[in-house]
Structure formats: C-alpha cells, structure tokens
Amino acid sequence: MKLEVVGKNILRIDALSKVTGRALYPEDFYMEGMVYGKTLRSKVPHAYIKVDTSRAEKIDGVIKIFTHKDVPNNKHGVVFKDHEVFCSEKVRRIGDPIAFVVAKDRKTCELALENILVEYEEIEGVFDPIEAMKDDAPKVHGDSNIVYHFKIRKGDVEEGFKNSHVIVENTYKTHMVDHAFLQPEAGLSFIDEEGRITVIVATQYPHYDREEIASALKIAEDKVRLINANIGGAFGGREDISLQIHLALAAHELKMPVKVVYSREESFLAHSKRHPLIMKYKTGADKDGKLLALEAEIIGDTGAYASWATNVLRKSGVHATGPYFIPNVKVDSYAVYTNNPYAGAMRGFGATQVPIAHEQQMDMLAEKLGMDPITIRLKNMFKKGSVTATGQVLTESVPLQECLERVVEKMDFPVGEKEAY
C-alpha cells in the first residue's frame, strides 16, 4: 500500500491565511449596526447579592442590561448544571457573572458597569479543599462540597506494606495554572437570514455550546448556529461556556448584532484553571526495589464549579501508580468545591499533576535502598502484557523501557555505579 499522508510533511490548510493576517478570529468580525456587550463580574468570592441596574439603564447609549431575570433557564454546565448564566442569589467566586450590559459602544458599556449597584452580603467562604471536605465547612452548592470520589482497590495494601523493606510517605501539592491562550475570548452574535441565532466564537466544543445556548434560551437546537472562527489557542480553556450564552441571549432579545471582546484580565476571570492537587502518597518496595504497595489520596480543588472535575480526577486516579506495575493498590481521588477560581480541562486532564508525586516517590525509594533512580524504574515499569491498577492489559506497543535505555545511553548515565545514586 502506498501511503499518501502518513510519513509525509503536509502543509496546514490554514497556514497561508494565518501568515498573511487574513485569518479571522472572533474579534475580527464587524457588522453593520453592531453594538457592544460587557459583563459585570463579582468582586468577592462568596456572598448573597442584590443587584440594582436602574441608574445604569438611564445612561444615554445603554440599550439593555441583562440579569438572571432575563434568562429562560439560568442553569448550565458541561457535566453538571451548576453554573448560572447570571448569578441569581449568590456569587461563589471572584469573577462570577452577574449582569451583561449592551450599549452603543465600549465606553458606554464601561460607564454602565460602574453604575450598576451590587449589594454584597458576604458569607464565610472556603478556600482549602481539605477544609471544604469537612461536614461543618461552608457549602458552595447544596449540602456537600464533595463533587466526586473515585476509588481503585487492587490486592491488599496492608499486606503489601507489611512485606515491604522500605516505605516512603509524603504529601505533594501542585498549583493552579491558567492556559493563557494568546487570543482572549471574543464573539459576535446576530440573527441570520433564516432567523437563527448565530454565534461566532472560538471554542473547543461547538456542539456543546449550541446545546447549552438552546437549553438556556429554551429554544430548539436547530434555531442556534455556531460558527467556529479561527481559535487563538485553547489548551482546555475553551471547553466551558464563557460568553456564548450572554451573546446569544442579547442578539435573540434585541435583534441586533452584539459583539464582546474580553480583556486579558477578564479572560483570566472568565475561564477554568488546571486543578491544583494535594497528593498524599505511601509507596512500599522490597529489598530488590520491586514495588509491593501504593496507597494514594488525591484531592482536587475544583473551585466554585465542577466543569470537567469528574473526568480530571478520575484520570489522576487511574494514573496514580505512574507507568509501574504494583500488585497492591488503593487510590481515592476526590474533586471538591471551594470558593476559588473554578478548575476544568487543561492539557493532560489530571495526568499532568500526578508524576510530581509518583516519580519523587521512586527517587526516594531508590535512595533508601541505595539503588540508582534508573535501575528501580527498569525493575518496575510497564511492558507489553503488563496489567495496570485498573485491570487494563497493555496489549499494544509499550516502548517505555527502550526509551529509558536510550536516554541512559545518550546521557552516559552511570547505571549501578555509586555516583548515580
């Protein structure tokens, strides 16, 4: 068989438009009669709110100020419907959307935002996920902050630790990360010639966005049209709704084209972050460096909203052993609500954080055993036919050993010699 694509260098079809500056991103669209929108966002992390838009509505050039009262179905979210299009009674994080001003130009939008009165009745917040798991912690939604609990039980960890010659126990923490895609969120919405609400946006999920817009506006999905323009980076940060519903609602109600362009600051406030994890690890090995048991508790701070937390913390749990065969495994991973910025998808989806823990454990086990860090890994790593902690049999290519051996060769790493320890 002659391959036409695999193994060949193929030119990107969008490269020419991008190098000539003709590629259009959402903020590059302009329409006749276009007006602008801007979002009012919470300045505090946890409070009951009362909103008075009357003064702002009187400003010359303000067309309409939308609040929760204008949204047919105020709930949305990619997995759980825990976001509100506009906060109705309570804000749960700094940056929560409260109102959306539409005005003739951007300066008028800003003036109107300054004239919306928000009365915040602040309530105690929770910012540490371990505190948030306690029964008496302030609740972000409903009556528990625990969104998700994923478990792995394989073999008998107690027995595994009893037979271990060395045990290493540590707690690791990773921090929140913003995607900082280079093109801040922007969009343009209008009613097309067939009467459909059309939203031009840069998104990772046009089909989800369409469904969420239709659901919020209580209209049929085929009355909503999503146009995915060029996307200036995403990295997981465009997997949730930001401005899509605000724009669609405004164009639908006002029957005029409405445009929004976020500043970099607003972009930071609007989209998800990488989950910060707290990872409590206990790993045991025998005299020869063979892993016998792993016990891990992984707590993910998903902030004020769940977003993709279930999928992310499941993945952290599945990858908790690292690429190593361990006969006895007990993993508990949790996603927990707090009043921090909300966390969702970001490159690696929960698999990026756990190596901080499992690899450091390997180095410390090796140190205790007087073994070098390469040897202990070669003794335990997955090969073709290995069974993972979740029972998956790795039947396809697993070239990890070959990779590590080549790295050792290129580095001239003194495996087994004293200086390598």
Binding site: V19, D28, Y30, L182, Q183, P184, G232, A234, F235
Partner: protein
Amino acid sequence: MKKISLNVNGKDHILEVEEDMRLIDLLREKLGLTGVKEGCSEGECGACTVIMDGEVVNSCLVMAFQAEGSSILTIEGLGDEENIHPIQQAFIDVGAVQCGYCTPGMILAAKALLDKNPNPTEEEIREAISGNLCRCTGYNKIVQAIDRAKEVLR
C-alpha cells in the same frame, strides 16, 4: 479629536483620531487591518507588533497621535496570497504556524531583524523574537523558519 497623517503599508492616510486612541485601534478599527492582534494590552505578548519607521513596536503601547508622520508596516503590507514574502513562505513550509495568533507579530519581528542584520545567528534570532510570546510553544519551528528565510533572502 486630532487630525494626523501617516503612511500605512505604502498608502498615505489623513485621519481624525480621538486623543485616547491607541495605534492598534487605529489600525484595526479605522483601517480594518485585523492582522494586528491584541493579546494582553500591556506590551507583554507582542501579538500587536508592527514596524514603525523600521523599528518593531507594540501597537497597544503607542498612542495613535504618536504615529503622526510615521511609516507603518503591518502583516497585510508584507505580502499576500499572490505576492508572498519569503518569511511568510518559510513559516508555512517549516510548520511554524499553529494557532496563528502570534504569527503576524513573529513574522514582523523577523522582518525587522533581517532588514538590519541579513545573517543573524540563532541567538540573535531568539533575541529578536523575545518580545513575542507563542503559547502553543512552537518556538523552535519559528526559529527554523526565520533561519530558512534568511537563506532565501540573501
């Protein structure tokens, strides 16, 4: 309002601008040159890079009235589909384009470098694009593209 005259991509313009208007707004909103991108609005990311009288500037940090009498080059003035510039072609051929949002600024930073220094070292190329962020992390391909363009232009 203030009246200014300037040359953009080889064309003379006389424009009425607001006192608080930035050069990026003039280029995008008054002249429709949307190849000028806005990433941070504070001179960190370089997406809004244009060449002003031979020097790279962040057009978000230049006020429109400061461009009075100047000559500006944006990505639209460098080359188009029919008449592509060797730097643009090299970015396509090497695979230096991903999301594309940093691309116009990167190409203009490269152009300003090669105009002054036709045979830069890799270190000089990296320094020349040090004011331009690529969040897709495609820096190596971008450096290779500029290096290839240098060979074509010589």
